[in-house]
Symmetry: C2
Subunit: 256 residues, 2 copies
DNA sequence: AAGTGGTCTAGACCACTAA
DNA sequence: TAGTGGTCTAGACCACTTT
């Protein structure tokens, strides 16, 4: 005979069934902790263990003073990294003017984009230095740190690193929106011919949790895009932190 | 004056610092719960809240009866989805014979690959039916469900769905390894000309946690690859569940 | 047998939100 | 003010691993 499962597993299973069956609809408030204590005749800690278990699966979010709710999953944005910085595609959006594609995509969805930019000169973290071909100890880079928001809620973090010698004295050094037709670097005569993207799912750091207002048990995708010119020199590294559930990353791949 | 942070936040902060500073090395056992209760003069629950907080960040894993350990991050596998099923690249591995590329990559890393295959005819989940162009209610597909292991530890789940009319009576219907030079479908005269990949970071379901032996707070990436022939007909949908921390997904993108 | 983490109880007070 | 979830205590017994 197999060992009995802990009570809080069983309680979580019951609630999960009700959620997945739609009995407790998205955004709906579930019974409070005292109610669950009475229903299942357990202590409050046990109820809380069950709720935590479901929160860890991303099914519930608790809101202090209000209640615990079934997590809503609005339709995620589709983010096509194959075309996101292509010159071809940019032409299609040409009449969007100076707006970048992110802002365009968000606006098209009927929502309000916004970005805050900080610029500084830093010693980049070792993985970035490596990709830029810099001395990991002494090399410095221009860092453009952006927080992008949708409807005034922080949505993603995007840190771009440029070798300082490439961007010294250019508009990139100023904390303003510098999007331009064909890409930011193109206006400086630097043409990115190829990108390499690396995607890593992981749990967010405390800093990311706070900056993005992430509810518990929200993973992030760390996208690192390195741009190269036609000679294979790295021109830029962009590290984007995208919270789970709000987006899908898309790639179109030719089979050859 | 700002409100004081909870005790368990502070304790977690202390331990996190020691871990990130390398004072508590990877794989090392951290002080036991009784020791931490004494050190910080708090109850066991408070200690456990602090440890849970760090586990949720992916920094700790607890092992019943043994202790709590700083999580190890072995070098992740690099998984290049741009070339993973390309005919060009497959030629480079031609002398690997009948082995598929996954097995080849793992073997090259000096580890032992293995896959278990189950084959069945199913009504695919709605997102898959949609991608295959099937009736979501009545359409059926061939499902090849694989569990791939590295060094006898389950590593990823890969479910491939094929329209039944394409694969009726072919070797694909049998639960054996069917990799072939140029790809499985190529041997049936079905050529995939283009793929669309969709990547979604999320928390694992209970089933995934159990099948992959995932420690707490391990997110997964759900990769959905849809293969199309040159006329745009969907030939296959493959849903791969990749646990965080064990892999990096790579895409090479041409800027045009 | 001793030490680890896992489950569970019964209580208390606090912070926040809504009516 | 009443009700929600958040923090915290002080205990108990159990399951698992190591010695």
């Amino acid at each position: 005979m197999t060992r009995a499962a802990p009570k809080y597993h069983w309680i979580a299973d019951q609630l999960r069934e009700r959620i997945l069956a739609g009995e407790l609809a998205e955004g709906e408030c579930i019974p409070g902790e005292p109610a669950l204590m009475a229903t299942y005749e357990v202590s409050r800690n046990t109820v809380r263990l069950a709720l935590r278990r479901l929160a860890d699966e991303g099914l519930l979010v608790a809101d202090q003073g209000r209640g615990t709710f079934v997590r809503e999953s609005p339709k995620p944005f589709e983010w096509n990294w194959s075309t996101i910085e292509s010159r071809r595609r940019h032409e299609a959006y040409h009449d969007a003017g100076e707006r970048d594609q992110w802002a365009t995509t968000v606006t098209e969805a009927g929502r309000v984009p916004r970005q805050d930019i900080q610029v500084s000169i830093v010693t980049p973290p070792p993985p970035v230095a490596e990709r830029l071909g810099l001395d990991p100890a002494a090399g410095v880079a221009l860092l453009r740190r952006r927080v992008r928001s949708v409807d005034h809620e922080p949505y993603l973090l995007a840190d771009s690193y440029f070798p300082v010698d490439l961007v010294q004295g250019t508009p990139l050094m100023e904390p303003r929106d510098v999007s331009a037709p064909g890409g930011v670097l193109a206006s400086l005569g630097l043409v990115q011919a190829r990108y390499r993207d690396e995607i890593l799912p992981r749990m967010p750091t405390r800093r990311e949790i706070e900056m993005l207002h992430l509810p518990a048990a929200t993973p992030v995708a760390e996208h690192t895009r390195t741009g190269y010119d036609k000679d294979g020199r790295a021109l830029r590294v962009m590290v984007t932190i995208l919270p789970g559930g709000r987006h899908v990353s898309i790639y179109d791949v030719e089979a050859d």
